[in-house]
């Protein structure tokens, strides 16, 4: 009796689905996305997928609103060749499956022209594979990741990283250590995934062999685990310690070391070393005194820099009311500026392949706040390739070494670290790319 019912239920289930199918099939089929999708006479639609709230969003959740603020500024000043920019922000909570799903939505439903600033190495790799960005010719501009693989033009035809890679960063830091702390024992705490592994490799490439290499599982950071890190570092007598992880891990490392009376020379990576975020996580400014970190954009506290001044004004006028101006805001606005530069350079006849070509041929001259020059070319999609080193003072303000920005450039391979002679050109009028 029951068996019959089950079979019957199966048939009923099929019947329901059939009915639904017939209803749905009344809809016309839709065309695939094209070269000019997202471009109308008056508007360009762009999309970004990143964590906007939740545990992984700390700091990053200020980037998209900052980008939007800059776009609004541009829209108020003539737009891009007469078109206004619309940015659609989707939250992916830093999860791979969500990143892919939201990107599919952006492309298929919201019909964006291009993706900008998508966050996360694993996420971007998955999106690139699943959606087949290269095959479909969909541009993904200035992805927010330090993974060196994205610069490979043959694998990621339509993707452009922007930030210098983790590998580059530790090579630069390694050289800096060799020069400024010769003979001292070095320790490194790093996140136990590609983020940190890349960093460790870069350090070794620079010729620095750490006396203590301490990996930590991502998301396992706490005061207790940090205590074990400190204990190991003390045992190895490390006097210079590189902390290569996310901000919360850096905060624990700093705080716990202080509580245990361990005072090495801290060097924190550009991701984890953002003063504003560290202070929000409970690290008081005086604790940052003497901590070294790296960056490629001017410090958000540097009010003598023309780009910073412009961004501050845009933040007050166009960003969400009450947003505190910090390095995350600078990052967002800078990415937006580079985006506008690319769109303008592609001309009035805006197409996807046009934008990609524009970045490859003219990207090196795009205006941006970065003190390292973008390296885009027709053979490689490498973005910025350098850092300046700075030290925090007792108020949590980052001061560049020797008072001026000295940029060290290198590559993601075995190339040497050099001091750059490139001078950042003056900002275009009103901060609007031509």
């Amino acid at each position: 009796m029951m068996r019959f019912t089950r079979s019957k239920k199966g048939m009923i289930g099929s019947a329901i689905v059939a009915a639904a199918a017939l209803a749905v099939s009344a809809l016309p089929a839709q065309a695939a996305s094209t070269e000019t999708q997202g471009v109308t006479a008056t508007q360009i639609t762009l999309g970004i997928s990143q964590p906007t709230n939740g545990p992984a969003s700390y700091g990053y959740n200020k980037v998209a609103p900052a980008m939007d603020a800059y776009f609004k500024y541009v829209n108020a000043n003539g737009g891009v060749n007469g078109r206004k920019i619309k940015l659609i922000v989707k939250n992916d909570g830093y999860k791979v499956t969500d990143a892919v799903n939201k990107t599919v939505e952006l492309i298929s439903r919201d019909k964006v022209f291009a993706l900008v600033g998508s966050l996360g190495t694993a996420n971007n790799i998955a999106v690139s594979n699943a959606v087949d960005l290269a095959g479909q010719g969909i541009p993904s501009l200035y992805v927010n990741s330090g993974f060196s693989g994205f610069a490979n033009k043959s694998t990621y035809k339509t993707m452009f990283p922007l930030f210098p890679t983790y590998y580059m960063e530790t090579k630069v830091l390694g050289e800096y250590i060799k020069k400024n702390f010769p003979g001292k024992k070095v320790g490194i705490i790093y996140q136990d995934d590609d983020f940190g592994d890349d960093a460790l490799a870069g350090l070794k490439q620079a010729g620095v062999t750490p006396a203590a290499s301490i990996p930590y599982a991502s998301l396992s950071q706490s005061a207790a685990t940090a205590a074990t890190w400190v204990s190991k570092l003390k045992t190895a007598d490390a006097e210079v310690v590189i902390m290569y992880g996310v901000t919360s891990a850096a905060a624990f490392a700093l705080g716990t070391a202080y509580a245990l009376g361990y005072k090495p020379q801290w060097i924190i990576d550009s991701v984890g070393g953002v003063s504003a975020t560290l202070q929000l996580l409970g690290i008081q400014a005086p604790l940052l005194n003497g901590v070294i970190t790296s960056s490629f954009l001017p410090a958000s506290t540097d009010t003598t820099d023309e780009y910073i001044k412009l961004f501050q004004t845009i933040n007050t006028k166009y960003n969400v009311a009450g947003t505190k101006f910090d390095d995350n805001v600078v990052t967002g606005m800078n990415t937006a500026m580079m985006t506008v530069a690319a769109l303008k350079a592609a001309g009035k006849n805006l197409t996807r392949s046009g934008v990609i070509k524009a970045i490859e041929t003219k990207g090196k001259t795009f205006p941006s706040a970065s003190l390292a020059q973008p390296q885009f070319s027709t053979t490689s999609h490498v973005g910025y390739n350098g850092f300046w080193i700075g030290t925090y003072d007792a108020t949590g303000t980052l001061k560049p070494e020797t008072g001026k920005y000295k940029i060290y450039t290198t590559d993601s391979g075995s190339g040497a670290v050099k001091v750059s002679t490139w001078k950042r050109p003056a900002m275009p009028a009103k901060g609007l790319p031509k």
Binding site: P55, S220, A224, T228, S231, K232, A259, G261, L281
Partner: protein, 298 residues
């Protein structure tokens, strides 16, 4: 030598927190035979309430008992309004063996998302009321601070209190009776339903205290106590899921193991170790290192 002492100290402090969570799980299990996975959610909501108190009054000492009371109320409410109706309706059919587990999972989801909606997903900080600086003995600074004393002290206090209640009071007797033989207890005049709710209230309070104690050393977000639940469960299983002392010892043991592994091998194994321990205990001595005669089989 210093490393060894550090490992032990860190292990004890963390272990105390695991013990509290294990305690919460064992309390519920003893009185209702249910593993309350929602404990992580209950504890986090109570901790948020504690955080509100600290933010508004700046007084941590006030927050601790208030969070505990909040935890107790939430615990009792969950038992009365969710678990009880469930046991009446879902006692047959395919779902019976797993109904309570699934219910607590659903509840966990509600508490997670509810907390995220009310307090947002970003990380909140809770400052310890006492110093978190390591204690200096002679020339060495040890990873043990006044905060750690607070943690261990509070955990001990809670455990001794509960132990006393369970072993020496009529309430405790009623709690134990309702757990093992609810029908007979009812016939002896015990208000089984109300007693069960009290058991859940105690558990909720214990979980809340664990949450408020552990947060100064990490950060508060809707998911921040999930891992503590897993650790608490492993600790409870080590101790046998039946005895409060077992939960306490299980927690300390787990804390020490994690800290030794972290120090001598590496903290990359933080998530793998509890699973390995769990499997070992379940395969070798399922009744736990301390536990008694009851078997693990259906």
């Amino acid at each position: 030598m210093d490393q060894l002492i550090s490992a032990i100290l860190i292990g004890l402090s963390q272990g105390a927190i695991y013990s509290l969570m294990a305690l919460a799980l064992v309390l519920v299990f003893r009185s209702t035979r249910v593993i309350n996975f929602a404990q992580a959610g209950q504890a986090v909501v109570s901790t948020y309430i504690g955080w509100e108190v600290v933010t508004r009054t700046g007084n941590y000492w006030l927050a601790l008992p208030i969070a505990a009371i909040a935890g107790a109320i939430v615990g009792a409410a969950v038992e009365s309004f969710l678990m009880r109706p469930l046991s009446k309706r879902a006692s047959k059919g395919a779902i019976a063996p797993v109904a309570s587990v699934i219910l607590t999972l659903g509840l966990l989801g509600v508490l997670h998302s509810g907390a995220a909606i009310i307090w947002k997903g970003d990380q909140k900080l809770l400052e310890s009321p006492v110093s978190a600086m390591g204690i200096t003995v002679g020339e060495t600074v040890y990873p043990f601070s006044q905060t750690d004393f607070l943690i261990i002290g509070t955990a001990l206090l809670v455990m001794l209190t509960f132990s006393f209640i369970f072993q020496k009071t009529n309430l405790g007797l009623a709690l134990r009776a309702s757990a093992f033989q609810p029908e007979i207890a009812r016939l002896s005049g015990v208000r089984v339903d109300r007693i069960r709710a009290i058991g859940w209230a105690f558990a909720g309070a214990a979980g809340a205290i664990a949450g408020v104690l552990v947060t100064p050393g990490s950060a508060l977000s809707p998911n921040s106590l999930d891992l503590l639940l897993v650790f608490g469960f492993v600790a409870a299983v080590i101790g046998g899921l039946e005895s409060l002392i077992g939960a306490a010892l299980g927690g300390i043991l787990l804390g020490l193991t994690l800290s030794f592994v972290g120090l001598y091998i590496g903290t990359s194994l933080t998530f793998v170790v509890p699973f390995v321990i769990l499997i070992l205990v379940l395969l070798i001595k399922p009744s736990g290192l301390i536990g008694g005669r009851k078997s693990r089989n259906a």
